[in-house]
Symmetry: C2
Subunit: 318 residues, 2 copies
């Protein structure tokens, strides 16, 4: 028996075949090449058909398909809202894929849900029934599993941790993206650095030579590595926010693991001990000693693993 996991991103599509023990047998990546709307749907179904044939030739029968999407998967209707895919405000992905998948069951979930499912299946949250994946990239979101099941809330928008209120008073800068995301996403880290550049007139370090508008979180981490005092300040602020957020998730969920992943958390992995130190100040004191804070074990493959595990869970439900 084999499982097919599909991970749709904003610009590319990753697909992988797994056996049901979680071993990755085959992986493919393809670019979306600016496809929009239903063309993205056709691209996915084309990819699936190709891989079903491929697997059959190799003697691996695919028995279930899971798809990770970069947005919200509406469990009631099977439609998807994906802000970075033009035309996907309410796209009927599930029914489109089902047409071409025949009798093979299909399940769809959000990328953040799939990331924590992947980590709990084959990554650093293996075997955990209560675990959280905090994805820090351009924005911030979380995939949360409670007693082995994805927390989705009443309308599938649970896990919007980027909106966490962590700093009084409210300012208008929080309106677009939420307080935590404003201060500590990749975008936020760059923004805080730009503001520091603006206010610290005496600063003359390596970030000074960059065009402020072009400064990215990676530049900030690079400058931090080089001992730059402004980068140190910006990163120090982000660590406080990451720590407060971890503390809140610990006090609320009492999880076994919190896994950090997403684009920013390759370079930021060295801050995990500092984040834990900050979290320890704020969190419920029993729960903080029962949690382990770790980096994603699957990196950019977390989504495709999670999609396959989604497929496996869907199969077991039948």
């Amino acid at each position: 028996m084999a499982l097919l996991g599909i991970d749709l991103g904003a610009t590319k599509l990753a697909s992988a075949i797994f056996n049901n023990d979680g071993k990755l047998i085959h992986k493919e990546n393809a670019l979306l090449n600016n496809r929009e709307g239903s063309a993205v749907g056709r691209f996915i179904t084309g990819q699936i058909s190709g891989l079903l044939d491929f697997a059959e030739v190799k003697g691996d029968k695919i028995e279930s398909i899971g798809i990770s999407v970069p947005g919200i998967s509406n469990t009631g209707t099977g439609t998807v809202w994906a802000p970075n895919i033009p035309g996907w405000t309410d796209y009927p992905l599930l029914s489109e894929v089902k047409k071409s998948a025949g009798r093979i069951p299909v399940a769809v979930d959000s990328d953040r849900a799939c990331c924590i499912l992947g980590e709990s299946w084959q990554g650093n949250a293996r075997g955990c029934r209560d675990a959280i994946f905090v994805a820090v990239g351009t924005g911030i979101g979380a995939g949360i599993i409670v007693n082995g099941e994805v927390l989705r809330g009443s309308h599938d928008v649970a896990g919007a941790v980027g909106w966490m209120a962590l700093n009084r008073p409210f300012t208008n800068s929080y309106i677009e993206c939420g307080c935590f995301e404003y201060h500590a996403s990749g975008e936020g880290l760059a923004k805080v650095t730009r503001q520091l550049l603006d206010s610290e007139k005496d600063y003359n370090g390596i970030l000074k030579v960059k065009e402020p508008a072009n400064i990215s979180s990676h530049d900030v981490f690079e400058a931090y590595e080089a001992g730059d005092p402004l980068a140190d300040k910006a990163v120090g602020q982000a660590v406080v926010y990451w720590g407060m957020a971890v503390a809140n998730l610990v006090s609320i969920f009492n999880p076994e693991k919190i896994i950090f992943g997403g684009g920013v958390f390759g370079p930021a992995s060295r801050f995990i001990p500092a984040i834990m130190e900050e979290a320890r100040k704020w969190a419920q004191p029993v729960g903080i000693n029962q949690v382990s804070l770790e980096l994603s074990g699957l990196g950019s493959s977390a989504g495709v693993y999670g999609a396959a595990f989604l497929a496996l869970k869907n199969l077991n439900k039948m």
Copy 2:
């Protein structure tokens, strides 16, 4: 068929018999009278025996028993940690009650879990599968149900929302009880008022005549009603914290309802619209429009209703 719900508090024991449609048939209250340790256990089993007999005489056969405890119910061992009952650091309540309950199934859970279970069964969260009970009394805690089941976390300490980090920077005053609880519990509201009395030397209102150490949250609400400016300031601060906490619970859980209850939230019920207004600033904008913020529908009986619903759920599981 009938259900027996028992709600153990720090000083008293409430017991009620319900039919399985949730109608309360009979209720009794008893004082603990400074009982400690296993004497409290014996008091509970005595109460249960008496009520089993009482029900039988009335022709109502009790088929399941649920108990709400003021602390943490360890699902693995059946033991209870209850900080306000001397000697209950790891009290084997489940096995003690089972001895005297014979073949009748027994379930135990924390008061915060029981409060939201009660509200979802017969109170203001009726029929909700995703709902939260925020108990504001001396301290602050929450009972959370996710997809109809109580969120307990890896070691039964989930829902410790009083520890939510909402205000930078960290201060040592947060060490004992957490940031949210420090600022916005009944105790916190009184403390903030005392600090304001200390710092606002020009104030000469009705709270000035009180001995600061004796000021309670009820005094603050009373002064607020009378238009006192210092009370207005203290309450205003608490509303901001309550609003931020609601926002965080909405962004994280996407619940249908958040119910406020506990000792402070009789007098504080009038602030629910103001709390919602504050929450709306911070919360994920889709989720905040999908939640309803309400006062407990069961008041001080939420625990005993929840204990009976726990009994019913336990019966249905068998």
